[in-house]
């Protein structure tokens, strides 16, 4: 059995009542946090403490708590999803922090991700980008062709699958100094462009998704590569290059 260890921490958390009020960083002290607890369990513990003292609990996004839904966000100590790479916030554990440490927790900062409350941001701009072209049109009138009946090159299938691993959490936008969404859009464009079913609408897809991305107010990519490092699903920069290629093809040809 692992030795039980509890730590005391200081928290600096962004508090904002709603979208129209100004927020600010608030300081909290939280004692007896088990190093075996997850980061979100630590926030649950803080909220219990806040509720018990008649204070408003901290609002934060979470759902599956196993790293696949893309709901949890949080900019922790200056990094998207905290100090670990290849993980979401829900997969982060308190053993990564030291006793007495001050932990900064902020929402994703982007013009296109407005704060709803405290640490929750509105990521529906991603949905609108997806709706602009992140799909394949299929005739479902009874003569649909089984996707598995179409042979696909293994390396293309693998690359498409890797791109499709994107959970749309928005860490790429949050960590990018330009607030650019190109890793997300690059992944979504790639996952279809690599497959025969997606190739048919490839040109319209990339043009429409990029247009929507620009309209939402995301910044421009300067290839710093920060998104690739912080992406919990390891989406590669190759997907941005592929999107750039697809866009060039669609614009010039």
């Amino acid at each position: 059995m692992s030795a039980k260890k509890n730590i005391n921490i200081n928290l600096k958390i962004w508090r904002q009542k709603n979208a129209s009020t100004k927020g600010k960083m608030e300081t909290y002290k939280l004692d007896n946090v088990s190093t075996d607890s997850s980061f979100l369990e630590m926030l649950d513990q803080l909220n219990e403490q806040l509720v018990n003292t008649q204070n408003e609990p901290v609002a934060f996004d979470h759902d599956c708590r196993e790293g696949i839904c893309g709901m949890c966000s949080l900019y922790i100590n200056g990094r998207a999803h905290g100090p670990d790479t290849g993980t979401t916030t829900c997969q982060l554990h308190m053993r990564k922090f030291k006793d007495g440490e001050t932990i900064f927790i902020e929402p994703w900062r982007s013009k296109a991700f407005p704060v709803v409350k405290d640490l929750i941001v509105d990521r529906s701009s991603f949905d609108r980008i997806q709706q602009a072209g992140g799909f394949v049109s299929v005739n479902t009138s009874g003569n649909t062709i089984d996707a598995n009946a179409t042979p696909i090159n293994k390396s293309d299938a693998d690359k498409a699958f890797e791109a499709a691993a994107c959970i749309g959490c928005g860490a790429c936008v949050a960590t990018c100094k330009n607030g650019s969404a190109m890793l997300f859009v690059g992944a979504k464009v790639s996952q279809y462009a690599l497959l025969p079913q997606g190739k048919i609408e490839a040109a319209d897809r990339v043009l429409n998704m990029v247009r929507q991305m620009d309209e939402e107010g995301f910044g421009n990519c300067t290839n710093t590569g920060a998104c690739e490092v912080e992406c919990p699903k390891g989406i590669s920069l190759e997907n941005i290059a592929r999107m750039n290629r697809e866009y060039l093809k669609a614009s010039v040809l």
Partner: protein
Amino acid sequence: MAKSAFLKSSIAKKYWMALTGLFLCLFLVGHLIGNLQLFMSGYEGALQFNKYAYFMTTNPAVKLLSYVTYLSILFHAIDGIYLAIQNKKARPIAYAMNNPSKNSSSASRNMAVLGTMILIFIATHMINFWAKMKFGTAMPLFVKEIVDPNAGGVKQYMLIATPESPQASVPVQAPIFDNAMLNKQPNNQIIIDGHKIINKANKEVLFEGYKDLHKLTIAFFKSKAKLFNVIPNEGLFFTLFYVFSMIVLGFHLWHGFQSAFQSLGINNKFTPAIKVFGKAFSVIVPILFAIIPIYIHFISK
């Protein structure tokens, strides 16, 4: 909508940054090859450099290329500033705590600052050399110095003619041959116009020589004068400023070179080689540029 977005969309702007940036990398190589001729010493070296400068200012193909270069610099700078403003707007509230050094290089995060510094350098560089070469009326023509041992070491001077000159090289009295010299003559109907000596009255070309850019360059980095009447030994100041600017250029290229390929959609099996080449380019080219003013200021006679 497809075609109209080709200038305005976020991705198209990056294509233009990449294309102009890569063209400017080619320009750097050309410029460097020219500059390296400053290492050649003596009369032959000076003649070679001035001949090169003459070719660069008179050849029509080079002229066309120079306009593409001006446009590229302007477009790269304007587009870059526009992108930087847009990117700033994409994050209206900054993080209270940010730790970007964990996921990206500082060069990649400071391209706009580095670029602005390079733009300031280019402006001063063009004022100091390009404008003087192009518009300066005080530009002297190239004169060869001959020390004749038979005449007891007396110095003689020869105004060197280009192959196109209607008159061959002629002896002159002083090592500097400029308009001030010409105006001392009783007949001041004759003036230097660019690299030609013409008769003001009938525009007849009497002589074609080389503008002495070599002398101007050496004097610039060796000057002991006070800059703006404040900074002593301006030659040393210019040398240090040029070296500093080349370090800035190196950092800009460190990220910029390989980044251009990514922007153009090139990320494949050649990418590791492109990255290595880009990093070598960003170190070697600025170093070669920087050692020229160092050589002139500290070593050359």
